[in-house]
Symmetry: C2
Subunit: 190 residues, 2 copies
């Protein structure tokens, strides 16, 4: 029962945060959506902060698993890069709701030590994956630089997607990133 309720509460928190576009969600709202009382949320998570952080961890873990499974199937370095890009824009759904939740967590990282720490781990892992794949294609120094700009571009495109009211397909977003990678690699190799 414990795990079941925790999962339900995390899912409800995700929905509520995304729907309201803010971390100003009450425990009662989350619990209500999960079909339980607010007191139960406290029982299982200790406090609101822990529930929010658990939700964040869930999102990060989910992305991580998508990334790992994508990378496993990539045959060569360039395909690994594509896997990372597609993973970044294919996380569960490319839904406005999920993207909103991410942006909200980014904002939280400004004021929460733990949230910042969690995001840093995600960023480091993304960066390390990019660098690793790039090293097979360009000199090490360039790999680091290209990884950095690519990661920033991913975040930027993601951010703009969050603010865009209408949902769109990930394909156009992916194309932007892919082109950037291609241009950078070609520029170095030329």
């Amino acid at each position: 029962m414990s795990e079941l309720r925790k999962r339900a509460l995390i899912g409800a928190a995700l929905c509520e945060i995304a729907e309201r576009g803010s971390l100003d969600v009450t425990v009662a709202q989350i619990a209500g959506r999960a079909g339980v009382s607010a007191a139960l949320a406290h029982h299982y998570f200790g406090g609101k902060e822990d529930l929010i952080l658990a939700t964040m961890r869930h999102l990060l873990a989910e992305f991580s698993s998508v990334l790992v499974s994508g990378l496993r199937e990539a045959p060569d370095p360039r395909a690994r890069l594509t896997a990372i890009v597609r993973g970044s824009f294919g996380r569960e759904q490319f839904h406005h709701a999920t993207i909103s939740a991410w942006l909200t967590f980014y904002a939280k990282a400004l004021s929460s030590e733990v949230a910042a720490w969690l995001l840093e781990i995600y960023q480091r892992r993304l960066n390390s994956n990019l660098v690793h794949a790039l090293r097979a294609l360009v000199p090490g120094k360039d790999a680091v630089r290209i990884a950095e700009s690519t990661a920033a571009l991913i975040d930027g495109v993601y951010l703009r997607e969050a603010l865009k009211g209408v949902p769109s397909t990930p394909e156009s977003a992916i194309a932007v990133i892919e082109r950037h990678i291609d241009l950078e690699i070609r520029a170095v190799q030329a």
Copy 2:
């Protein structure tokens, strides 16, 4: 006195928001920093929401004026692009505080109609400036595409700067964007 107090309150709100890394600032905190009572803030702005939005407008207006003056001095299209990039990363200060405030406003745009509208105006203007400068260098269709990816890259780099605890110089950030622009232009012209 009216204008003086309003300016002081907006400045205080900016500081408070940036320092706490969140829009969860109380009217009392802002007013206290401005050296007045909370009641006065209500007197001048009507409500908390209006004060926050006025602060947002201030930030946007400030950026806009920096951009305009930078563009006026640019002798050719490529210099105009550089002016836009430098303006984006030279807004008043490249301070962690200011960047934090921007990210916080981005998050607010998810839940506030007016905030979203304000940000959209800023984005549209930035985009239009980029497209206009690019049209002199590449075909129209490419100009639109490059403007889009450049704007996203600017936002992405800015975002990462916000989360980075340590402050850094804008030069490295500017270099990333400039390189992206150069690569894109060269790829089209080739």
